[in-house]
């Protein structure tokens, strides 16, 4: 540290402080050679070693511009990031060097004798040690706390040893990562006995949350307990888009504020990120942040350079920061939301059903390792009005750490309520806190076993920023008298605050509830004493909160009277200052709704009032004698009244796994055979699902959810199934036909049939008819099912039927696939096959056909359908014929656009958000996902869109991005070309010789179009141009689809598969636009995706396999010319591209070229 100057903290308290701008953008300007990066491309930190001169000059440029503080070039200098470049062990060194380089620049610009811009430009300069978010999202389980803490410690130690003035934990995307980095900094400083300030900046995405979904107010709740000098925002968006979040922080964050925006939202121009904000706009908005919102630390992020900072530096001396009015209410938070501890109206309710002591169901599910079931209970509780959930998985003989880990892994990302970690085990609590990005409440501490355990848990609360429940119990036991309750609370308060640095607002005292229902003479006054205890604690320990486990008060009494007593007791506790209650809200009613006599009786027993020597407890019991709960049955008792059949039917139809294992177990305990349960209960339930689907009352994703429950049920029953000798199961051989890789439709049929008791032999994709026939003979199949998405597949199906007829295979055949029409199947295909042929528009039509086959009614059904079709045909009036087809005269004066380059280019990384913006959402929702509107009203459908479909869509997009499941890549290029008859000759850019040739069919009737016509011919002497493009979303998407299907997550499979397929389409549409831009032919472009769907652009994009160019074999030429193997796309022997989620196309620029059927 330069001698005699103010510390950074003193400086920041005395005036506005200017940080620096972008580092990455500046490095980019240097156009460094690969060798400068030691061939570790993308690793900026290596430059600290190889090109310290470059880094130092960037720092100096910012100091010259007027920055007080520069940030070290150490964003990713920790092992988690560096391991990707095989230099994990250099983390400390690179961090140390980063700090030393910046320190050197600082000392030059602080020293009047050395300062290059003269003595007047010299002033104290500071160095912030930059710590970035790394490449792994800890909240999603991509790394763990111990690994990340260790990684950050190496970085922090390097920076601290290099003498940075402060730590800047920046660009944060995940609150758990922030907590981990903070602890690494604090641990490192404690070890070195040096204290410097820590600043945190988070990156709020355009969604208004961090990448993992945390909103600003939750970030404040999570970070407020930590010793952080300033909190702020950086990166992500430009300053204007940050304004709302800066305002929020300004109102609730108690410390200083730092804002470092990008130079506007990056625009994607031909795959390059370009920042568009003007310096003037930057300075104006930043100035407003200071003068209107009280921001006192300012700087820039991506895209800002020394010119931005120089302009801002000029402005700063004239700015007076606004006074902030800060109103922060102590709160707890989950990753997704926040709750203030003091609710208005009181109280803060903590759900008690996710607790082995609070719910038998929860315990039962835990005992069979049904962790997903635990999540269902948590989810169900969220809707009951609680503000947080108490999670307790303690059960004697089980591994509580493992159980907690398994439960939390699921709950943390699926439940948006803050959590209360309830355990007596320190290691269970610590593990929980290391997994939780939110701000938790620890439940609980007491002094029963002395102070050692209290010390340990207070340390945890401090380290992880949690709140803490403390019970008024000491070495002598539970405090019964109100003054004892206060005395113990004071003692714990002293330990927590004085010894461990917790604040009063972190503490929540439980004055203990005793039961009045048992008639214990010594407890007659206990309710009153608890109420007094609450009042005393609140009066004597300002700032703390109070909590109570409520329902104990009425233990042993009848359910209807318990409700009344609990409610009255809660009411009085709240009046005395109770802030929180652990309670099942279903057992609480508003005081106003309680009958007066009931109310009086409850008050008497609570206050222990003996009227004319009459025992108030007996009077209370007598008051409720024979009374039944008049309200709708509680769900728990309701469940008890349902039969196993009803319960399981509900499981299937609702698609809920809640209690599934318990219900099945109950069925087996009633001596029902596994097969009986399946045949008499589960399959009929699936039939209901099928009927709901058929009548448009249930959509595909919910059907799959039901099928998942069905599968889970059958899996659970499997061990108890007896093999029935001699009984033959009705079976089907199922395949996607030759040349087609699309298997989602066929797999849906498999799911539905398998889960309805049919044996399915699923032969997969690209299946030759020989293979299908062989399998059908081998297993004696009752039916064959053929599927395919391509138009071409309908032809293959027809050929296959001819082959079946030729080989005299006499089993019924089911056909399905989007390109089939009933008239094609019944009018053209049926005559080819002697055995029954059924058109199945969806999986349940397939189920219906199978059940007809099983019962022998298929022929009769088909005959009846045929006569119905005939009747309809006759009833329909012939459509008026349209005008005769006009001849097409092709314009031969069209100007050939200039290709930006000839040959191939590869774009390995395309921005996923841009691809998302080209998605045809209607197609994704209604087509791929099957959220069809059907007979729903528009209003109902819109509501479903807003409440179900869109949230799923957003979550899935985010997940795919975070887990890098969709990785768009393109290989494309331009070639000169000429037509020659129906052929198109592609010229080699290097030799000008012929590189390849496409052949296109001509329409057999007017207007006799052929794609080749839309290019200049060899004879014209004019070279034309064609673009080819291959677009893929990568192998990871195909793998994830297969994984989800294989693991029985049918709904997730459907959703993810659909998204990935549509992303490949969106990418093609996007890249077609890029090609038009590069060719300069965008003047006819429409404005929306919907316009592009109907080809509102100049020319056309054709893919082989479609009617204008049906020959799929030529796709191989297209892929070879585009060198698609370099983005991982290959063409199989069946002319299909692998991975599946890939599209290829050629782009014709001629304005008259549109789709047609050749």
């Amino acid at each position: 540290m330069e001698d005699g100057r103010l510390s950074f903290e003193e400086l920041a308290r005395s005036r506005l402080v200017l940080f620096d701008g972008a580092m990455g953008t500046q490095i980019h300007e240097w156009n460094l050679a690969d060798s400068d990066y030691d061939f570790k491309l993308g690793c900026s930190e290596i430059l600290n070693q190889t090109r310290p001169d470059v880094i130092q000059s960037i720092h100096e440029a910012y100091y010259a511009a007027g920055s007080d503080v520069v940030e070290t070039n150490s964003f990713g200098s920790n092992p988690i990031v560096l391991v990707e470049y095989d230099i994990a062990s250099s983390a400390y060194d690179l961090s140390l060097k980063a700090a030393q380089i910046a320190r050197k620049a600082a000392s030059i610009w602080s020293d009047p004798r050395k300062c290059p811009d003269g003595a007047n430009a010299a002033k104290p300069r500071y160095v912030a040690g930059s710590i970035g978010p790394g490449t792994k999202l800890i909240s999603l389980g991509q790394t763990d706390w111990t690994t990340m803490l260790e990684s950050y410690k190496q970085q922090a130690k390097g920076l601290l040893d290099g003498k940075v003035d402060l730590f800047l934990i920046e660009t944060c995307q995940d609150p758990l990562q922030i907590k981990c980095a903070l602890n690494a900094c604090f641990d490192t400083m404690a070890a070195a006995q040096i204290i410097i300030p820590v600043i945190v900046t988070v990156t709020v995405e355009t969604t208004g949350t961090l990448l993992v979904g945390t909103p600003v107010e939750a970030i404040v709740a999570i970070l407020e307990p930590f010793d952080i000098f300033a909190l702020g925002l950086n990166c992500a968006t430009g300053p204007e888009d940050m304004r709302n979040y800066v305002r929020q922080l300004s109102q609730i964050w108690p410390g200083k504020l730092l804002v470092q925006p990008n130079a506007g939202l990056p625009q994607n121009v031909n795959g390059q990120l370009v920042y568009t904000l003007s310096i003037e706009d930057y300075v104006n908005t930043m100035s407003a942040f200071v003068t209107e919102l009280g921001v006192s630390l300012v700087g820039g992020c991506c895209g800002t350079n020394p010119d931005f900072l120089r302009a801002l530096a000029k402005e700063l001396p004239s700015l007076k920061p606004a006074d902030r009015t800060i109103d922060y209410q102590p709160s707890v938070a989950s990753l997704f939301g926040v709750q203030t501890i003091k609710q208005d109206p009181p109280a803060f309710y903590i759900g008690e059903r996710t607790n082995t002591n609070g719910s038998k169901l929860f315990k039962d599910l835990l005992l069979v390792d049904d962790y997903d079931g635990l999540v269902e209970i948590a989810r169900e509780q969220c809707g009951t009005g609680v503000h947080a959930l108490d999670i307790c998985v303690a059960y004697t003989g089980r591994d509580e750490v493992k159980d907690m880990e398994q439960a939390l892994k699921r709950i943390i990302t699926q439940i948006d309520m803050p959590l209360v970690f309830d355990s007596t085990e320190v290691n269970v609590l610590e593990k929980s806190l290391q997994m939780y990005g939110g701000r938790a409440i620890i439940n609980s501490i007491n002094l029963e076993d002395g102070e050692a355990r209290v010390d340990r848990i207070c340390q945890l609360a401090k380290r992880y920023g949690a709140a803490l429940i403390a019970l008024t119990i000491d070495e002598k036991g539970m405090a019964r008298e109100s003054h004892e309750k206060l005395a113990i609370a004071k003692r714990i308060h002293e330990i927590a605050v004085k010894r461990h640095g917790l604040r009063p607002q972190d503490l929540i005292f439980d004055a203990l509830t005793f039961t009045l229902g048992a008639g214990d003479e010594t407890l007659r006054d206990s309710a009153q004493k608890t109420i007094d205890g609450i009042r005393l604690i609140k009066e004597n320990l300002p700032g703390v909160a109070t909590v109570l486990g409520l329902s104990n008060v009425s233990f042993g009494l009848s359910p209807v009277s318990r409700k009344v007593l609990n409610s009255v007791f809660l009411h009085e506790c709240i009046a005395a200052g109770l802030d929180m209650a652990i309670v099942n809200l279903k057992h609480i009613v508003p005081i106003a709704q309680i009958a007066e006599e009931d109310l009086k009786a409850a008050y008497r027993v609570m206050n222990n009032e003996w009227l004319q020597e009459k025992d108030p407890l007996f009077a209370f019991i007598a008051q409720f004698e024979g009374k039944k709960d008049s309200e709708p049955q509680l769900s728990a008792s309701e469940e008890a009244n349902l039969t196993v059949h009803e319960l399981l039917t509900r499981n299937i139809v609702k698609g809920s796994k809640l209690n599934l294992s318990v219900n099945l177990e109950r069925g087996r305990n009633e001596n029902l055979k596994a097969l009986t349960i399946i045949n008499d209960t589960l399959i009929p339930a699936m039939k209901i699902v099928g009927e709901l689907f058929g009548s448009g009352k249930m959509q595909l994703p919910f059907v799959l959810q039901s099928a998942e429950v069905m599968k889970a049920s059958v899996d659970l029953l499997q061990p108890f199934m007896e093999k029935v000798e001699g009984e033959e199961q009705v079976s089907i051989v199922l395949a996607t036909v030759r040349g087609d890789v699309h298997d989602i439709g066929k797999n849906l049929v498999d799911i539905i049939l398998t889960n309805n008791g049919y044996k399915v032999y699923n032969l997969g994709i690209k299946c030759e008819i020989d293979t299908i026939i062989q399998k059908a003979i081998e297993v004696g199949a009752s039916a064959i099912g053929m599927s395919g998405l391509l138009v071409k597949s309908t032809i293959i199906m027809k050929e296959n039927l001819e082959e079946l007829a030729r080989r005299k295979i006499k089993v019924p055949v089911l056909l399905g696939g989007a390109a089939l029409t009933p008239s094609y199947v019944y009018d053209i295909c049926t005559p080819l096959l002697p055995s029954p042929l059924v058109y199945c528009s969806d999986a349940f039509e397939g189920l219906k056909a199978m059940s007809l086959i099983k019962e022998g009614g298929i022929a009769g059904y088909l005959a009846a359908e045929a006569s119905k079709r005939e009747a309809r045909k006759q009833a329909r009036p012939a459509l008026a014929s349209v005008a005769p087809v006009e001849e097409i005269v092709i314009d031969r004066t069209v100007k050939v656009p200039k290709a930006p380059f000839l040959g191939v280019r590869h774009v390995a990384e395309v921005d996923l958000e841009t691809v998302y913006s080209y998605l045809t959402e209607e197609v994704l929702f209604r087509g791929r996902w099957g959220y069809r509107r059907g007979s729903m009203s528009k209003q109902d459908y819109d509501e479903q869109l807003a409440t179900v479909i869109r949230p799923e869509f957003e979550a899935l997009k985010l997940d795919a991005k975070l887990r890098q499941l969709i990785k768009p890549a393109v290989s494309y290029g331009y070639w000169e070309c000429n037509s020659s008859g129906q052929d198109l000759i592609i010229y080699d850019p290097d030799s000008d010789g012929q590189l390849g040739r496409f052949t296109f069919p001509r329409q057999s009737e007017a207007p006799f179009q052929c794609i080749a016509d839309y290019f200049y011919s060899v004879e014209s002497g004019i070279r034309d141009v064609i673009a080819l493009q291959v677009c893929t979303v990568g192998q990871a998407a195909a793998d994830e689809s297969a994984r989800l299907y294989g693991s029985g997550n049918y709904k997730d499979y459907l959703l993810f598969h659909g998204l990935s397929v549509e992303c490949a389409e969106a990418l093609a549409e996007y890249w077609h636009r890029v090609v038009r831009e590069e060719l300069g032919i965008t003047s006819e472009d429409g404005n929306t995706i919907q316009d592009f769907v109907v080809q509102k652009y100049q020319g056309s994009r054709y893919s082989f396999g479609y009617p204008a160019c049906p020959d799929l074999a030529q796709n191989r030429t297209l892929c070879e010319l585009s060198q698609s193997h370099l983005i991982g796309v290959t063409v199989s022997d069946e002319e299909q591209m692998v991975p599946e989620q890939t599209t290829s196309a050629f782009v014709v620029h001629h304005p008259q070229a549109k789709y047609f059927n050749a």
């Binding site: 989007a818 087509g927 509107r933």
Partner: protein
Amino acid sequence: MRYICSNCGYIYDPIQGDSAGGIPEDTKFEDLPDDWTCPICYQSKSVFDAFD
């Protein structure tokens, strides 16, 4: 009422019909022949869904 092709996003508008598919103006979706297909992606009528 208009209907949308859930495979490609084409919207069938009864006022316009589908000249390429030989469907005159003012033809209701319900009255389209069974073997009519989407003019953009050639999928069958059954993939269409009510739009407004």
